[in-house]
Symmetry: C2
Subunit: 225 residues, 2 copies
DNA sequence: TACTCTTTGTGTTAATCTGACGCAAAGATA
DNA sequence: TATCTTTGCGTCAGATTAACACAAAGAGTA
């Protein structure tokens, strides 16, 4: 199919804010550019749309081929259209964010090791293009979303403990939440289920293992921290 | 500037969900198509991007030339990219929504009268293209936004009464809200100011006239109804 | 002028929710 | 068995909310 419109259209791309949570750290995946523009600067991974691709297809392609990730939570954020956002010419980018559990993927393998890296969100370098504002928008969206939708389980293992979930929320929202009040609110929301099992191996009392409730009655809730 | 990317890019368009509030009715502006595809069907107003235009420029152009509107509240919603969403060929559309006060614009003037019309949101025809889902998404966003950001004043006159604001919220959210509790919450949010004047002419007690507080300390709040 | 009807502005109160915190059980170590 | 830390469960005062009562304002009417 050919475009039916009269003038030469802008290039279309996606850019990805890939969040990973590991060891009480929320991180973002960045790429070190090897060519101009923004040579040697860190940027978000992205790619131009290929024929007949939908945005999510392009995102999956990037995640798969550049980063070796499969089956990732993905959400469209916003489309960036400033005419000069790419020095090479007019390009429109549809920003997305992804949530991955770094434990499940082999990221720093092979040739990638040098130019792909996780950065703690509190310690980011200045990014190329307009990627700083893409990141800010993604972080804002994630912070907002986690208070009314169970996206946390995308970042954790299938089984997790209450303290782990608690730390995730504190880390993402960058606030401290009373442990006991957090437990009460989360349990009232009914979006996690106690499996009856316990996490073994720790020195002190073994915490209960929970899993996410996949048959939520309501598909949204509101928790105010 | 020419695209620097290799393949022929999809066409790029914007589509607009224009909300208007009048006489206790929330309405959307629709266009009756005169050509195929979707001839004689109602659709959202929209247009293809022209050279160097940003999305908002294109939106303003549509609002100005097709609908005679200036200076309208506008927000980007979501980009729609299904390959077959336009039978004429691959086209990507960035949906926006706009809030206007119908009293301020002369809409049904001249040649437009036949093919442009307001529809109550509860009484919409089936729309062409994928515009039904665009509308649904816009309504959802508006409902969410109005609970944490003062967008209501875009739909009302500069001066308005408490009962008018109350009705606007009930209409948009499609719920009933206790009049007195609504007053308390809105006043606590400090996003409106009592002007001291009163609306004259009504048969009963003359309600106070309020205006929106343009120097809000906090730029967001949360009201739960 | 006094009475009625309706709308609008203000206040009250009981029920609910929230934040802050106490305490005991569980597990490992000494 | 005692100690230390973490985890699970409960309590309670203060804040917030929903439901509702009531008086003031305005216009019409007898």
């Amino acid at each position: 199919m050919k475009p039916f419109h009269s003038y030469q259209n802008p290039s279309l791309a996606v850019d990805l804010v890939v969040f990973g949570y590991s060891k009480q750290n929320l991180s973002v995946l960045l790429l070190n550019r090897k060519e101009a523009p923004f040579k040697d600067r860190w940027v978000l991974p992205g790619a131009f749309l290929q024929m007949e691709e939908r945005f999510k297809d392009t995102c999956s392609r990037v995640l798969k081929t550049k980063l070796g990730m499969d089956d990732v939570y993905l959400e469209q954020l916003y489309s960036f259209d400033e005419p000069d956002r790419d020095p090479r010419g007019r390009a429109i980018s549809v920003a997305h964010y992804a949530l991955v559990n770094p434990a499940r993927i082999a990221i720093a393998a092979g040739s990638m090791a040098n130019d792909v890296s996780w950065f703690n969100i509190n310690d980011l370098p200045a990014l190329g293009f307009d990627h700083d504002s893409m990141f800010q928008q993604a972080l804002q969206r994630l912070r907002s979303k986690i208070t009314y939708f169970p996206v946390g389980f995308e970042l954790l293992d299938d089984l997790f403990t209450m303290p782990e979930l608690h730390e995730l929320y504190e880390c993402i929202l960058d606030i401290t939440i009373d442990r006991r009040n957090f437990r009460r609110k989360i349990l009232e929301s009914e979006y996690i289920i106690n499996t009856g099992k316990k996490r073994e191996g720790s020195q002190n009392r073994h915490p209960d293992l929970y899993k996410f409730n996949k048959k939520l009655k309501k598909n949204s809730f509101q928790i105010n921290f």
